[in-house]
C-alpha cells in the first residue's frame, strides 16, 4: 500500500556460520561452501519455492547494478562479484545475500509502512534455515557478526522516507537530534556526503545488542510515525501560508517531468521530489506507486538494462526522459 511519506520498509538479519571465517573474499573454497550450505539448507527447509540462485560472477555488470538499484541486493554485495551470490525471491521481496560483510544477510522489503511484516518474513526464513544449519551464536552476545556494530540481533530495520518540507524548511538538524535520542540514525539515501537527493532518507536502528527485535522495530516504527506527523503538519501549514509558492514549484516540476526530452539523474531527483509531494497532497493525477517504481526504473543500470547497452551521458539522459514520460502517461 502506498504511503504519502514512507516509501518502503526493509529488515535485514546478519547471520554467520560458526566454522567459516567471516571474510571469504580471497577464500574461494570457503565462499563456495557458504553458498552450497545455504542453498541446501533452503532446499531442505521446503521454503525454496520462488527462489532463484544468482551468482554475481555469472551476471554482467549492468544486471548486478540494476539489482542493487532496486535494493534487492546491497551495494556492498557488488564489491567482490567473484565470491558473492544471492538467493532471490523477487515476487516476495525476499533475498538471502551470501558472502557480503557477513555470510548471510536475510532481507525483506515491503512497500509503505510495514516493518512488522518485513521482520516476520525474515524471521520465518531465519527459523527455516536455522533448523538445517548452525549459526554463530553466543548466549551473552547473541548472533556473532563480522563487525561489532551488528552483534546481538544482527538486525537493521529501516524506513525509506520522503521528507521534502522538513528539508526545505531546514528542520533536518532537529530531526537528526530527535532520532539520535532514541538510538536511531537518519541519513540521505542518494547522493554523496550530506546531500539527500530527492529529499529521501533512511531511518534505521543504530543499536543491535541488548534490545529485542520487537523493541527495535517498535522504536523505528514510532519514529516513522513521528516524522510522518511532522512532515504532514508542515505540508498543511505551507498550504495555508503560501499556497501559491508551493503549488508553483510542484506544477513546474510536473511540467518538466511530463515534457522534458533529456534529464540527468540529479535533475530527476529534484523534480521527482516535487511531483511526489504534489501527488501525495492530491494535486497531481499520478499514483504514488508509479512514482515509487519510477525511482528505481530510471536509474542508470536499470535504463542500461532496458537499452541493452552501457551508454552513459546524453543518450542515457534522453532515455531517462523518455521513460519518465511513458510512465506518467499510463
Amino acid at each position: 500500500m502506498s504511503n504519502p511519506i514512507v516509501l518502503s520498509s526493509r529488515v535485514r538479519l546478519a547471520r554467520n556460520y560458526q566454522d567459516i571465517p567471516f571474510d571469504v573474499a580471497h577464500k574461494p573454497d570457503a565462499a563456495a561452501m557458504c553458498i552450497a550450505r545455504t542453498s541446501n539448507a533452503l532446499r531442505l527447509s521446503g521454503q525454496d519455492s520462488g527462489f532463484e540462485l544468482l551468482r554475481l560472477i555469472d551476471m554482467d555488470d549492468v544486471q548486478r547494478r540494476a539489482l542493487a538499484e532496486c535494493r534487492l541486493i546491497s551495494k556492498d554485495l557488488l564489491r567482490d562479484p567473484a565470491t558473492a551470490a544471492v538467493l532471490l525471491n523477487e515476487a516476495e521481496g525476499l533475498s538471502i545475500m551470501m558472502n557480503e560483510e557477513d555470510h548471510l544477510r536475510i532481507q525483506a522489503i515491503r512497500s509503505g509502512m510495514a516493518l512488522q511484516e518485513a521482520a516476520e518474513a525474515c524471521f520465518r526464513m531465519d527459523d527455516a534455515l536455522s533448523r538445517q544449519v548452525s549459526f554463530a551464536y553466543d548466549e551473552q552476545l547473541g548472533y556473532l557478526t563480522a563487525c561489532p556494530t551488528n552483534t546481538g540481533t544482527g538486525m537493521r530495520a529501516s524506513l525509506l522516507i520522503h521528507l521534502p518540507m522538513l528539508t526545505i524548511l531546514k528542520q533536518m538538524g532537529n530531526v537528526g537530534q530527535i532520532v539520535a535520542k532514541v538510538g536511531l540514525t537518519i541519513r540521505g539515501v542518494y547522493g554523496e556526503g550530506s546531500e539527500a537527493l530527492g529529499n529521501l532518507y533512511l531511518v534505521s536502528n543504530q543499536v543491535t545488542l541488548g534490545r529485542t527485535e520487537q523493541e527495535l522495530i517498535s522504536a523505528v516504527t514510532a519514529v516513522g510515525h513521528q516524522l510522518t506527523d511532522m512532515e504532514l503538519a508542515l505540508r498543511e501549514k505551507s498550504l495555508q501560508n503560501g499556497r501559491n509558492a508551493l503549488e508553483d514549484s510542484i506544477y513546474r516540476a510536473w511540467g518538466i517531468m511530463q515534457y522534458a526530452r533529456c534529464m540527468g539523474q540529479n535533475e530527476f531527483f529534484k523534480h521527482w521530489s516535487g511531483v511526489r509531494l504534489g501527488a501525495a497532497m492530491g494535486m497531481l493525477p499520478v499514483k504514488l506507486a508509479t512514482l515509487d517504481a519510477m525511482l528505481e526504473q530510471v536509474q542508470e543500470a536499470n535504463l542500461q538494462a532496458l537499452m541493452e547497452s552501457t551508454v552513459t551521458g546524453r543518450a542515457l539522459d534522453e532515455k531517462r526522459a523518455e521513460c519518465i514520460r511513458a510512465m506518467l502517461k499510463d
Binding site: S130, S134, Y143, R187, E215
Partner: protein, 167 residues
C-alpha cells in the same frame, strides 16, 4: 576525576548506560564526549571503533610495545581488528573478549543479548534439560532400588544421546 577515555583531562560529562539490568556510569571529558558524538553523527563507525579500541588498549603506550593478541582459530591480530573494525571469525569474539566488551558497551550501551535465538540452540537446550531431568529421576529410582524404572530411564537417555549425535 580523570576522563575514563583519554585519562588526561578532567571528566566533566557523565554517560549512563544499561548493562543488562544494571546502570553503569562512565565519566568523560568534553573532548572525548564531543569526539564520540561527532563520530556517531557522521556515521563514521570505523573511526569510532578505532577510537574506542585505542582508548581501551591505552593511548599512552605505542601499540607495537604491547603483546599482540592473536585469534587462535583464524590468526587475526588485535591490531588488524583495530585497523579494519572487522573481526576474522566467530572465535575472535572470545580471543578479543577483554577489548571487545567495553567496545560493545560503548556502541550498544548494553552487553547482554535480548533477542531471538537459533532454533537448533533451543532444541539442543531443551534436550539438555530433558537429559538432566532423566538423570535425576534415574538416580532417585536407584536410591529406592527400583531397578526396572532405572533401566527404562537409562534406555531413554541412550536414545536421546544417539539423537543428539545424529544432529
Amino acid at each position: 576525576m580523570l576522563c575514563e577515555e583519554c585519562k588526561v583531562n578532567e571528566a566533566s560529562y557523565t554517560l549512563s548506560v544499561m548493562v543488562g539490568e544494571e546502570l553503569t556510569t562512565r565519566h568523560l571529558c568534553g573532548d572525548c564526549m564531543a569526539k564520540m558524538n561527532m563520530n556517531i553523527a557522521s556515521g563514521n563507525i570505523k573511526s569510532l571503533l578505532s577510537s574506542i579500541l585505542s582508548a581501551i588498549t591505552g593511548n599512552d603506550t605505542p601499540a607495537e610495545k604491547q603483546p599482540e593478541v592473536v585469534c587462535p582459530r583464524c590468526r587475526t591480530t588485535l591490531s588488524q581488528f583495530t585497523k579494519t573494525g572487522h573481526l576474522g571469525c566467530p572465535a575472535c569474539y572470545e580471543a578479543f573478549h577483554e577489548q571487545l566488551q567495553p567496545m560493545l558497551l560503548q556502541i550498544h550501551g548494553r552487553v547482554q543479548h535480548a533477542g531471538r535465538k537459533p532454533l537448533a540452540t533451543e532444541d539442543a537446550q531443551r534436550s539438555r534439560y530433558r537429559q538432566e531431568d532423566l538423570t535425576r529421576q534415574m538416580e532417585q529410582a536407584i536410591a529406592v532400588e527400583d531397578f526396572e524404572t532405572a533401566a527404562r530411564i537409562r534406555d531413554q537417555l541412550k536414545e536421546l544421546a544417539a539423537k543428539e549425535a545424529e544432529a
